[in-house]
């Protein structure tokens, strides 16, 4: 507010005098009212600036969803970011559980092979090993080795969590970076839209893993759905 204007300056002086008088006579309610009026008059500029920043943030949030699509701001974006971070927890938890299950299955298999070999050594020392027992031993060792290999493949595949969570984190980072940029440029004009072509490139670049809130009809729920869809297309 421009206080160089005489009428505004006079209004502020009047409020200040009223505050001073109320304090002098001990009229606490009147002093409080005057103080609030002064704070309001001087604070209105700050409020207007804050309001402008909030408007900009809302504009950014409405344009920069993780999928880049235009959406009405309703606070859902924060929920969306939280949902995606929760998804990271779920994916990492699932990968950790898969790995632990595979290790828990693999350890007794390896232990079993060691026991078999040890028993075999004892019997061989005593010259008590008929051919059929040797065949049985080899079959069991080969079976355990095959099962171990399968469990190790499970551990291998479970590491794919890093790719999935990495893609989700990138989406959140992108959103945060966009917000930071707008806050830093809060003195500048609000962009009316994303740079030309960015929305298109986002679509082509991919969206990353499906989110828990995604529309069921538009997203497949696993390889079975993909196969069914491609089969319908003759693939």
């Amino acid at each position: 507010m421009d206080v160089s204007k005489p009428e505004l300056r006079e209004a502020r002086l009047t409020m200040a005098r009223e505050l001073l008088y109320a304090i002098e006579i001990g009229d606490e309610p009147a002093a409080r009212r005057s103080a609030e009026m002064i704070a309001c008059a001087y604070g209105s500029e700050a409020w207007r600036e804050l309001e402008r920043i909030v408007t900009e943030l809302r504009a950014v949030l409405s344009r920069v969803g993780p999928h880049g699509q235009a959406r009405e701001y309703n606070g859902g974006e924060q929920d969306d970011a939280q949902m995606q971070l929760r998804q990271i927890i779920e994916i990492t938890e699932s990968a950790a559980n898969s790995t632990l299950t595979a290790v828990e299955t693999a350890l007794p298999l390896a232990g079993g092979v060691m026991t078999l070999v040890e028993n075999f050594r004892v019997k061989r020392g005593a010259d008590l090993v008929p051919d059929r027992e040797l065949d049985s031993l080899l079959n069991r060792v080969a079976g355990n080795a095959e099962a171990l290999k399968a469990q190790l493949s499970e551990v291998l595949v479970a590491q794919g969590f890093q790719d999935l969570t990495g893609q989700i984190i990138r989406r959140v980072v992108e959103l945060v970076r966009e917000l930071e940029g707008h806050v830093a440029r809060s003195g500048g004009p609000v962009r009316e839209s994303l740079p030309t072509g960015l929305a298109e490139s986002r679509s082509d670049r991919g969206r990353g893993p499906a989110r828990p809130g995604d529309d069921d009809a538009s997203v497949v729920r696993g390889q079975h759905d993909v196969d069914a869809l491609l089969s319908d297309m003759g693939l």
């Binding site: 794919g160 893609q167 991919g206 893993p209 869809l229």
Partner: protein, 130 residues
């Protein structure tokens, strides 16, 4: 199926490239090359000798769908089998990939068995077509 075929694995996450490479090796395919996005994959493809392209979709610089379109537009590579291994789960994108000429689509997370089945299916179909 020719186990000595040369397979190009394209993914921006090195962990995923390692996973696919190791799974392929377990399946008997050890002749693999790697690239971290479509842009770095393209010169390797242009150099020739690649028998199968396994690519992610969501990558910087050149995404997998664009790489697929480049491959299909090149007279020397238009018949190259392309398997997309990606987290992209929207029906619209799967249709988009099919329309662009993808031979198989594996959604992440996947199993070793799924990868094997899809590779086998691609080559079975190509053998029938050829």
């Amino acid at each position: 199926m020719d186990k000595s075929m040369k397979i190009l694995i394209v993914d921006d996450f090195s962990t995923m490239r390692r996973i696919i490479k190791n799974l392929l090796r377990e399946l008997g395919y050890s002749n693999t090359l790697e690239a971290d996005d479509g842009q770095t994959a393209w010169p390797l493809l242009r150099a020739g000798g690649i028998d199968l392209l396994v690519t992610d979709w969501n990558m910087p610089h050149m995404p997998g769908i664009e790489l697929l379109r480049h491959v299909r537009a090149d007279p020397n590579m238009r018949d190259l089998p392309v398997l997309m291994v990606t987290a992209e789960a929207s029906r619209e994108q799967i249709v988009q990939a099919a329309e662009a000429g993808v031979n198989g689509y594996v959604i992440k997370p996947f199993t070793a068995q799924t990868l094997e089945q899809k590779i086998e299916k691609i080559f079975e179909r190509l053998a029938l077509a050829g």
